[in-house]
Symmetry: D2
Subunit: 289 residues, 4 copies
């Protein structure tokens, strides 16, 4: 949900063991300070007995700033053993894009960034190929070439993590980046690396999923946006979609159809992430879209 005349919001998201009085405590706190809630979503996972919540509150309706909010809310959070955070909607996330030679996801992300559809900053684009340097630089975004070979892999990934820190990035997007990241990197940046895999996971993990799909003779192909974990293509799923194919579609037709799904699914998943709409618990996500 969104409104046409945009007003800054605090975005409060949390999860905690489910019990009586959570909503009452949070909403009473907000109402007491005259906070105007413009968006609110809950979810109670009855299997895990865990409660999830996301609220958007108009900044100008509250008498205090982000830091004060944090301090004041701290006590409630403690008493319910909440895993929580609060962010300011106008403080744009810093998103590093990693890409290789395929251009469709890169073009798509830059178009959405440029038009303001994705409200993020892109401190740099990193690639293991020089292919898209000029295109990226035309957008006045630094392009950093970090080659990856079996021998240089460790150095390359150290370099990428260094860049992540240097640019104070919030998240890294693998926009069809054709390298498998190291377990170290996956662990260190857990929940901060988003990948687009070109299959409807858990089908067709690993390399050449469209070829696998063609060989199996499936009637729909898909794409999956997920957080990267050390186990390949097995992290928490944020978003998925599919498109119909048939016997007349050869592998390159499938690739073409797939690209359209990939870029749409990646863009949706990334938007959910940068708007703090994704709450991870175990290997699953709650997405308050």
């Amino acid at each position: 949900m969104a409104n046409l005349e945009y007003q800054p919001r605090y975005v409060l998201s949390l999860s905690c063991p489910d019990r009586i009085g959570i909503v009452a405590a949070v909403s009473t706190f907000i109402a007491q300070h005259q906070g105007w809630i413009v968006e609110a979503q809950h979810h109670a996972d009855q299997e895990q007995m865990r409660f999830f919540m996301r609220q958007e509150i108009l900044v100008e309706s509250l008498p205090f700033d982000l830091e004060t909010f944090r301090q004041k809310f701290h006590q409630i959070a403690e008493s319910f053993a909440m895993d929580w955070k609060i962010t300011l909607s106008t403080q744009r996330k810093r998103v590093i894009i990693l890409c290789s030679k395929p251009e469709h996801c890169l073009y798509d992300l830059l178009a959405r960034w440029r038009s303001g559809e994705l409200a993020m900053d892109i401190p740099c684009v990193i690639s293991n190929h020089e292919t898209h340097r000029q295109f990226v630089e035309w957008h006045e975004i630094p392009f950093i070439y970090v080659p990856v070979t079996p021998e240089t892999k460790a150095t390359a990934y150290a370099k990428i993590m260094e860049l992540f820190d240097h640019y104070q990035a919030d998240v890294m997007v693998l926009a069809r980046y054709m390298q498998v990241l190291s377990p170290t990197m996956c662990d260190r940046l857990r929940g901060k690396i988003i990948n687009i895999h070109h299959s409807f996971l858990p089908s067709f993990v690993g390399a050449k999923p469209y070829h696998q799909a063609y060989a199996r003779g499936v009637k729909l192909i898909g794409a999956t946006c997920h957080y990267v974990t050390a186990e390949l293509d097995a992290g928490p799923i944020i978003e998925q979609d599919v498109i119909r194919i048939d016997h007349s579609d050869a592998v390159d037709d499938i690739v073409r159809y797939g690209k359209d799904i990939e870029k749409t699914v990646l863009a949706r998943g990334l938007r959910y992430h940068i708007e703090d709409r994704v709450l991870v618990h175990g290997n699953k996500t709650v997405v308050f879209r």
Copy 2:
């Protein structure tokens, strides 16, 4: 959301002018009485400045019955000018089905009723044809033949409304009932008649929508489940879906594909209604699925 071991719930649904403190007031009320909320959804319509809410609370967590809940909640409802109701999830809605000769929606609804997927009672099936008498009666449901001709229309509709009252029905479903109801009936049973129209409304209002779709050369066809109002096929939409067709599909192929969409969309829409998941405001619906 649902759980496997079903426990009875109170279903509280309401809408009111949006302002600060609604959620706090409602959730505090529930928490004070140790009510356990298993499902909660909100929506704030920023254009209409109206707030919508639906809550499911475990019956056994609260110390009072439905009537006492009503009395106690009354004051809060008043103070926020709420349009509200509370129902007991185990009190099955009484659903009268109206059908004509096409069998697909009827079969589908009876299968869902019989398996318990749709938790409703069917006090009777009314039809303007004798076609399905035996099938319906096999299910031990009374079948009532109410013929409709241009001359007898008024009498027929009076009879149907009488049956609605007699059976203390909650809602009437037009399961491909091939007659246009009278404005009187539409007004008297406003919000209580659900129709399935075999097009993706607002396209192809009125008769033979699949023929209209074929003539226009559309590439997808659809179905729409909506509340019936005096204006034909213009009532609030509850649910819609579509399916792809192409040039090779003749009208009877379209009809066949369409049937699958019709019965699915009708069943979904009806389920939302009988679980009190649909809140109507003006000519639009909020569906807390």
Copy 3:
């Protein structure tokens, strides 16, 4: 494609190594005898270098009967090393339905059979439970109870194959039949057993696929109609579809959404089969819908 006033057709379907002149030979043969083709589809698999074709020819346009057609066409078929068959569209396939306790696919198939949407005969319904005896018998279809226990499995499957022969069945449909068939049976009836699996294969093979889907946190669930082979859930796929779910859907919601997909996908797959629209090659299908 279909026409409203139905005229009987010969359905010729074939596959052969791809080479120049196949279409010319077949279409010249038909044209020479004044055959009126109402539907024609080709597919050349460039990887396998194999050609697939399906034609519907109006019976009354040709001067000879099915047997004569077979004799006359034999020479062309030989010269191109065709794997081919010709059937008469008015000769209904004989379809045995196997079911267990779930009713949704059974109800759905019987509704489509009764309305003539699926132009087939149902010589009997076989089940390992008595649950649906009365419902099936009401339709004047023999209901045969064949219990299956670990001890009686071999006998039970022998009995089912005997029934298949006895009723001169063309195909057997597993309409959510909750038993794994024996390899013997799968081999003997290769290409003649159609199953509906309640996942988007190859994901979630085997038991409780909806639980597997829930555990993995996928955002769409699906169903797959496929030919049964000795390897579980690995046979040639005929049709698939999916539906969107989200974090708020518990397993029983997923089951409910899934049922709608299962019955639609099964009905589509079965229709393709009984209209001789499915050509199997290796572990893949060409479906001329």
Copy 4:
């Protein structure tokens, strides 16, 4: 269908009154000259009694060039009263893009052009705003600013038609071009102007379709790629698709979801057109995808 190692093809597409022997005549002609057909599709419209066909034949399999093919085929075409054409797959169509301020379709088309996914030439981009000049010019494509005001409309459209002729364009794409073309232009370039309309036509013709969709409370929104005719948004439909929305989506959410559908549907429709896969008959299309 496509193959990985691309070989040039002749693309023959035709329609004619349906009668016996069309396929035989065409396929015999091709086989006699040892033509290798890699893709073939037919459609017989039984209502219109019209036959449609598209064939792709490997250039190197035939002993003659395009001109000779035309001459030799002429006699067959005459005898069946065919409306036909033959093109060379390697001769890229010349596509002029018209855009206004929205960037999503423009970015998307240029990405597909640059990657070779859409095998076309773009002689120029025309716009009534200067917004995208630099982006287009970075791609080394001429950008031509043709302002349109109520007063200058006639001149502007004359200028655009002049550019169409000057660049020997094959087709013009309205990539969210926010001006209604003149009837003269629509007539002169009939079948050569492709538009993307941001609704599931025939619903929500004209201005602000997403606002119309929001007001009506539909549960899915769509986009339609169609040929432009003098009657607004009423030309032959090439491709359509939809996406699900719900009550929580405000107009700007709908706009965002819609953009993804628009660019995908436009790209698919345009590809069908430039690969000569669309045959128009009356106000409908046959699309041999």
